[in-house]
Symmetry: C2
Subunit: 666 residues, 2 copies
């Protein structure tokens, strides 16, 4: 393969592209966050919680929470800025990011999106200012993914004009609720609304959980979830409600209301549609998690790449010098494809944020569902990418990567839950797959085996391929390919795009056919769906793979400088070809690649790793993470200093070994 | 595919097989370890260290450390029992396992294996009794994998009859040394031995590091490595030596000695050969880590499978019942193939322990090298399997899996370093690959690019396939296959064995040819090796895959009951076919499977998952991990109780939803 030489570029040129539309938010955050305490290395749980609360107060002082709230209450109504700020918090102590997300994203977001003017007037300023710390009490011990079946009840009592909030049994206790164990004063409680003896589905109510003096409110029991793998600066807790009475206007009544006499009314017909409309307003949580996962991944990569650039082990017998880790192909393969994909996900994330920000208030259901589906898919793929990459970075730094001072243990532990909170990734991908089958606007949210099963029996299945924002560009690139697959240059972008599109279409078509056929044969709908579950998950994955690639391509198209363009083109090549390599069994098994071309893909990944190796430093510096926030001594020259000292003094002190073979320590 | 029905078996029948030759050690350990404190959920570092030291004292009282030491000093000289005991410690607090490993395996093992009678007489009893807590000070900040190039020096001074131990620069400080930060009194220090102005390579010396009162000894500086990702009950530290003088007999002189006048002598010619002989005596460390990784994996699987058997989420619309997680194909695919491979690795581990235990003292170099290579390979594969499986189990338990009380966070954090200590896995696999190329007895240990590069230029390359212990059985099974590949039943064991053997041979042959060709073309030896590094790693992996499969097959052959045999046969099928599925790109790309057969493999994995699902409980109970050691509430019925309460009371309390679709919480 003939790869044209790639000229060096300044990291700052890349940073400009990465910073994108909300560059001012990112620049501010870099300054502001450097003033917060560094992620702790070894702090007792209570001290960590106190420190995180202080950090939230510092954020309030800097005006941080205002971005996402309406202007009438002192906010800035800038969704993109709010989401970008959350993403930036991902570079610091992730407990701060999560606690801020609970307070302003989930709690504040629910009051804003599900409440009406009364609630806004009464609470939004206090929420922004952290005078009213609150919780988002949705998940129960027995129902996490299947939240439509929550068991907590809110029964309207017309005699007193109150709702009675109650935990009917142990499985209905609220679980893992952030801000509950220590700081929360109020909670948005999701519960089955009962009025006039009828259930109206899940609604949200504001319930005080602590008094002014910090004691649990009457009828409320609070338990601390205790130590977790990570995020120990967040006070997660459990909540039980023993017939707790709240006034009628505690109901966040934008989508459903109860009159004094108990009459229920709603602008949306159907419990299910209403519930999913309510959930849909909370899409920002998933986007924020995906963004923070990206930031954590970048920090980990910066640490591992910097270390790999200075850490030496084993001599090169040709030169007598010890070899820098990043010169080993095996080490390049650990870090560089992950770095390439991190860029791709960054651009996909920005596209998602932009789409949400620019969404018209009169957007149709279909556009809304598509956005929700994309947010779910990118959240799943970005958080799994984080889990895998942070793990790889830890291993790539050996023993040094295991020391808390070098940050990777904390990043790993903190991000680990990202794959299962704000929607379990496996469940989310099923949501995505379902959205890809036609007719999806009606049943988008019906998830799990049940929803899918009903869906496949109800619908005429077919598939559509939704294009991302860069529609025109993608078509142009695909149409530019005139050669046969086998003859096309492996670095031809149009071929990449075509290959990804073709894979997605094939996987979806065969899935639709398979489900339809099984349905026609009269099989049990649960069994049909369940047997195809691996196929369903694959469909979602390859869809998101295409979305990410198209975002990457669109970002390169925005580059103005030829040098930056060229570097990103090679990075995108590595992203694409390592993705293809990871899925070679599919491409071979479906006749998309010959065995000769499959081997060429593997060789090309190796060549691209070698080609990009001199640019690895630039690519991680471009994230512009301040050194004070990276923290890790191994990333900040400590290792280089030691190695320099060793090479200039130590090595010469010893007589040369006659036999300089290398070994492994037990 | 037609899978014959598998009858239920009692877990105890499987336990008998799993417990194997050292069943008495395992039974004892289950009782003894239940008396130790449980792995802590949230203990400050210093308290955890104190607790772990107490646990070591309790082990002393129970006679635990005696198994591995010579009878003359009160030991039992039972290597297999000692290794099995370490494996069992893997079910408890892994800090105890690692600290015990440092004290009795590494420190005590080095004194025994590298020292002579003087040292044995003087120290072994005190080491066994923990009266002399010690360290194994090999790794340095600058040299971890490449320990032959350590920079610490031990210079003999004939004027005083002493060695002067010295840390010449910062990169030569001893790093991550267990027992150093708090408890160690003495260290086996690995250093370049200098006498008469000549270097004699790396040797080990006993150096006191603390006084009776616990102060650092004169000239010794000690620093605490501080908090780590896990294993915080182990006090890892750094050591610097400033011209520390120790008497001549501090040298562990079995393989190299210095006379009073400074004359050096050794029974082994050549610094390199001597050093690797010394390292070879320490093989038990790697085997112990692999064993403990297996135990931790089993605990994680037991927790995740028990939870998946009772945890319900989403309704089955056909029945109206909420579905148990383990009934979902996606969930089965997360846990069951991992469980199958855990069995395979268990049997491979036992074979390894048995081989080491039964090794004749006059075993030739070749047998010794082969054993070391196998230990290295199984350590790498078993620890990566642990890292991946524990991660999967954590995710499979969702938020509950993130709570420290449910053990998975601790297991994950503690085992994480297993992939990079006692030999970095990537480096170890290179050692294995090299051992597989002929002529390997001469250069086995020459590792990294340098060793490999010299090796490939020096040697005529070829490949040999070493058979595991079950040679006759394997041949018989392979020869029993008379059909063509395409027509052979997918569950035919002989076909599996042939396929694995053929893959290994092909990967090795092509690797050998590739290296030879590049060498003939005169390429830079470092570059040759480096460009083939992914191929090298693959060769090692597929070799170990075969070793594990053959051990699995041999274990099934030892079964006496037909029901146990049948169950293990299906489990082995799942292990094999999911391994093939993970490597489908290779089998397709090399014409070993047609696309139709590749698809059949995927279907078969799905079918085997469904088939084995009713046996999942049995398969994890068979590990016979006492509940008191599992600890996790979600594995001990707490979740079942909650779900029972919910189904019998809660669900009926609510009016049924008209629309029972399911959702996902943000």
């Amino acid at each position: 393969m003939d790869i044209p030489a790639t000229a060096p570029v300044a990291p700052s040129a890349l940073t400009d592209l990465l910073d994108g539309r909300w560059a001012h938010v990112r620049r501010d955050a870099r300054v502001r966050m450097s003033e917060l305490p560094a992620p702790p290395v070894d702090l007792p749980t209570e001290e960590h919680r106190a420190q995180v609360l202080d950090s939230l107060r510092a954020l309030v002082a800097s005006g941080y929470p205002r971005a996402g709230f309406p202007k009438e209450y002192g906010g800035e109504a800038d969704t993109g800025a709010a989401l970008t700020a959350f993403e930036m918090l991902g570079f610091g102590d992730l407990s701060v990011m999560v606690k801020a997300g609970v307070q302003w994203g989930l709690f504040g977001g629910a009051v804003e999106a599900l409440g009406t003017e009364t609630h806004h007037e009464r609470y939004l300023r206090a929420i922004m200012d952290l005078d009213l710390p609150g919780c988002f009490a949705m998940t129960e011990t027995g129902h996490g993914s299947d939240v439509q079946h929550l068991r907590t009840t809110a029964t309207y009592d017309p005699a007193t004009g109150e709702f009675v909030v109650h935990t009917p049994h142990e499985g209905a206790r609220k679980e893992y609720i952030g801000n509950a164990a220590r700081d929360g004063r109020m909670a948005v409680v999701f519960a089955q609304l009962l009025t006039g003896g009828e259930s109206r589905g899940v609604h949200a109510l504001l319930v005080p959980i602590r008094t002014e003096t910090g004691e649990p409110a009457r009828g409320v029991r609070i338990e601390d979830c205790g130590r977790k793998a990570g995020l120990n600066g967040v006070d997660n807790g459990r909540l039980w409600f023993d017939n707790v009475r709240v006034p009628r206007d505690a109901l966040l009544n934008r989508y459903g209301d109860v009159a004094p006499d108990g009459t229920y009314s709603s602008p949306i017909d159907g419990d299910s549609k209403r519930f999913f409309t309510m959930l849909g307003t909370l899409i920002r949580g998933r986007i924020s998690v995906a963004g923070a996962a990206g930031s954590a991944t970048k920090t980990a990569l910066k640490i591992a790449v910097r270390y790999a650039q200075v850490r030496r082990q084993f001599e090169n017998p040709e030169t007598g010098d010890e070899v820098v880790l990043l010169d080993y192909l095996a080490h390049q393969r650990k870090l560089l494809p992950a770095l390439a994909t991190t860029y791709g996900l960054h651009f996909a994330q920005e596209e998602l944020v932009t789409t949400l920000h620019d969404r018209r208030t009169d957007a149709d259901d279909r556009a809304q569902r598509e956005l929700e589906s994309r947010a779910a898919g990118i959240k799943a793929i970005a958080t799994w990418h984080a889990t895998k990459t942070v793990q790889t970075c830890r291993e790539a730094c050996g023993g040094a990567g295991y020391l808390a001072e070098n940050r990777l243990p904390g990043i790993k532990a903190d991000t680990d839950v990202f794959t299962t909170f704000e929607g379990d990734n496996t469940v989310l991908l099923q949501l995505v797959a379902k959205g890809l089958l036609t007719g999806y606007q009606q049943h988008l949210h019906a998830l799990g085996s049940a929803g899918m099963a009903r869906f496949i029996t109800d619908q005429v299945l077919g598939t559509v391929l939704e294009r991302t924002a860069a529609r025109g560009l993608i078509d142009r690139l695909i149409n530019a390919v005139t050669t046969q697959d086998e003859e096309t240059d492996l670095l031809e972008r149009g071929w990449h795009l075509k290959l990804f599109e073709d894979r997605e279409k094939h996987v979806l078509d065969t899935l639709a056919r398979r489900l339809r056929r099984a349905g026609e044969e009269g099989a049990d709908s649960f069994a049909i769906f369940n047997r195809a579950q691996d196929h369903v998950l694959r469909a979602a994955r390859v869809h998101i793979d295409r979305v990410v690639l198209e975002a990457f391509v669109a970002a390169i198209d925005r580059c103005t400088g030829p040098a930056v363009t060229q570097l990103l083109d090679r990075l995108c090549d590595l992203h694409v070809l390592s993705n293809i390599e990871a899925d070679l069994d599919w491409f071979l098994g479906h006749g998309r690649l010959t065995t000769a071309r499959a081997k060429a893909v593997t060789s090309a990944v190796n060549e691209l790793c070698a080609h990009l190796r001199p640019h690895a430093g630039t690519l991680v510096e471009a994230f512009a993470i301040p050194d004070s926030m990276v923290g890790a001594p191994i990333a900040l020259g400590a290792e280089r200093d030691r190695q320099d000292a060793q090479r200039s003094h130590g090595a010469r002190e010893l007589p040369r070994m006659e036999d300089s073979e290398e070994a492994v320590t037990p």
